[in-house]
Symmetry: C2
Subunit: 453 residues, 2 copies
């Protein structure tokens, strides 16, 4: 139950097209680029993620014997093609933006150059990985911007769309500046800090709430990790008073409550009352952590209202990117056998040719404008090339970067965003980040439009 | 990169709570129920899916040595607890509604009865599986209701949220009445029919569109499966005329075009023009298949406009359930050690105790009303019990049902929906399907509210 490592996690047409390429002897080099056609109305920028997963996929691409047998049994493929498919590996080159980079519509973030069959087959899974990882990183970045000084924790596993979504949500949100995740496997797999509190069920198993608090504190005493008690199961303020009363006993037994968690009701109002109860009870050092249907808007609202909340668990809204659960991400052929290609379908025309994205930043470090140009145009003065080689002959050019380094890069990128783009509201078109198309690229597109088809 | 089989695909608090239960010697039997607290405004019913995946997960639950070592290294767990955790298996009982059953808010669809540690640990993954599979089945059912006579194919892999979402979307949409999926691995894994067309890139690799059509037809000649040609890369109507001109040649070579695909522009207008061109060219038997940002609303609109479209590829909107990308699905403790429990948090109170859902149908077969009652109440006259035993002592009570049987059940369930609920618009509260709470259940809840905490 997962399937992410299977080369059959693809669309059927990829395989039938490969058979046709094979029959026709078409094995020229193709350039495909992955990009987002337009940003959702609620997004002023996107934050790239999922590139390491995409490279893992390319490095391990192969069909196993059971998969080939299954394809054979469908009757849709010829033996000579299946024999050839058995040997298929990814041997191409890849350029990509660095994960954690801010990007915009029409900017290629991943460029694959490989024999047409290889470059074609990987479309579905490359999109599946990069689309979702980026979708969630972009949503999590908005949470980070809305609550720059708060502890943010990914609580999104249970309503993420399946296992891989849960894991990628943990990774993408950490990349975007979350402090960590509740998902244990994300800790094991990615080295992400894991956070946990307690559930209502634990409280309810005990006859009295205070028994649950004491037992939980006892169980965690002497072990690593903070101690967070959930206080909204029955009466939030009454529970806060119980903790004040319990604290001296716990302290004698070697336990210290690090925070309390609110999960229901008017969070700002409860937080204020609980803060007062804790402070008056001498528990100024106990933090307040809140959860429950939070998103970037609610984070901003709570903080603007002055709610004394130190950290937030952000779940479903982040792990499903609920207000924009998909991006218009595509992977398009831009060149075949050395000649640029252009999809010209109504409303879906692409910019042809292998491309580079150039970026200018101001003296204060803020990013100012981008240029999408053909990859073989001369480097413009003062600009940074965002697409860099990351794979050659089917192998990574360098080991994967540590997630911590990517996270620092993402933080620097968010800090470099122009002020209007940092807001949660979608900006008007005239305030959108300027992305220009180079003159040679425009000329190439026009010349392709004049060709017969 | 998937992780769905790992017992660490859970929230950290489950493990710290397990340690506390272990320390306290709490090992009584717990009843947890999985249900949806409220339907999204755009949903009049939900269609259950993901139960087989949930049972697979429970049957294979165990921690492997590397996972235990990693937990040990966190410093958060005691050795005696980890030793005990190594032996943990799921040994409990499960009741569930049959997949493909229509259900409503506050109705338990899955009831787990097991020692508290087992029942607690599995919460995150059970929700992760059943939530998403049901979310997408419910969305796909709306597409089916909007286009009851059309061929519907899942095109949703590339923007589904990760690998598992792509696979579960294929399974859930097939369950809900789609004809199949483009996702090859779903064919291998679930026996779902797979469908494929061709991509724009294939057309663009060839100098002339007509060369691509001919080469593709040649490549598929003599093999199983339909032949669908994509006609919107440059000029949709011109491409249709090329196919008319090409058809006699293809026929002499043993190929027959079964359908053409539209993917951009005004689909209704193009479909009408293409239908005329095909019919006048003697290709009355060639179907028209459409794709491109479709959802249930667009399907209904196209069919109401009389667009001569025979089949639809439905992708992102279905596989992300874009208008409602999450349900308020929860898994709550209802009983521990033989005593009913009730979460009483503001706005999140639950109905306590192990429960059954009873359903009455009318003489015409339509479902009429449900009753949520305590599991030990006497069976009401004329009603069907929706929760049935599916697992005992940690093993399935019966082998998994064939997906085809579940699909037939789903079709019968959709046919039995009262008319107002079949529409795409969310009905007003007074038209919502009636779900009553039994008097003993209400009395139990009230009595629990009077208990000290």
């Amino acid at each position: 139950m997962n399937g992410g490592d299977s080369a059959l996690l693809t669309d059927l047409y990829q395989l039938t097209m490969l058979q046709a390429y094979h029959d026709e002897g078409l094995d020229g080099s193709a350039v495909f680029e992955l990009f987002v056609r337009a940003l959702p109305a609620q997004r002023n920028f996107l934050l790239l993620a999922g590139i390491e997963q995409a490279l893992d996929f390319l490095e391990q691409l192969r069909l196993d014997p059971a998969e080939l047998d299954w394809l054979r049994a469908t009757g849709r493929f010829r033996t000579d093609f299946l024999d050839w498919l058995r040997e298929l590996r990814f041997t191409g080159e890849v350029h990509a933006m660095r994960e954690g980079t801010v990007f915009f519509a029409n900017e290629p973030v991943l460029r694959v150059e490989a024999p047409i069959a290889q470059a074609q087959l990987v479309e579905s899974r490359l999109l599946n990985l990069v689309h979702y990882a980026t979708l969630v990183a972009s949503k999590a970045a908005r949470c980070r911007l809305a609550a720059p000084d708060s502890l943010l924790v990914d609580f999104g596993l249970r309503r993420a769309h399946g296992a891989e979504a849960g894991l990628l949500a943990a990774r993408s949100s950490y990349l975007a500046g979350f402090a960590g995740s509740a998902t244990v496997l994300a800790g094991q797999r990615y080295g992400i800090p894991v956070f946990g509190t307690m559930a209502h069920s634990y409280i309810e198993v005990h006859e009295l709430e205070v028994q649950a608090f004491r037992a939980y504190a006892d169980a965690l005493t002497g072990l690593s990790g903070p101690l967070t008690l959930l206080i909204d199961t029955y009466d939030t303020e009454a529970a806060a008073r119980k903790i004040v009363a319990l604290a001296p006993l716990l302290e004698r037994r070697g336990a210290r409550v690090t925070s309390v968690r609110l999960d229901s009701g008017d969070l700002a109002r409860h937080a204020r009352r609980v803060r007062t109860i804790l402070d008056e009870g001498g528990l100024q050092g106990v933090d307040i952590f809140a959860s429950g249907n939070l998103d970037e808007w609610r984070l901003r609202g709570l903080l603007q209202a002055g709610a004394p909340i130190d950290g937030f668990g952000v779940g479903t809204a982040m792990s499903t990117s609920a207000d924009a659960p998909a991006l218009d991400a595509v992977y398009k052929l831009q060149s075949y056998a050395g000649r640029a290609r252009r999809k010209r379908s109504e409303g879906k025309a692409t910019w042809p040719g292998a491309k580079q994205v150039w970026r200018w930043s101001g003296p204060d470090g803020h990013i100012e404008r981008d240029l999408v140009a053909l990859a073989d145009e001369a480097a413009p003065a003062g600009a940074q090339a965002l697409l860099q080689p990351v794979m050659r002959a089917g192998r990574r050019s360098a080991p994967p970067e540590p997630l911590e380094a990517l996270r620092e890069h993402a933080a620097a990128q968010l800090a470099a965003l122009p002020e209007p783009l940092r807001g949660l509201e979608g900006v008007a078109a005239e305030q959108a980040y300027p992305v220009a198309i180079s003159a040679p690229l425009q000329q190439l597109a026009a010349s392709l439009d004049r060709q017969p088809h």
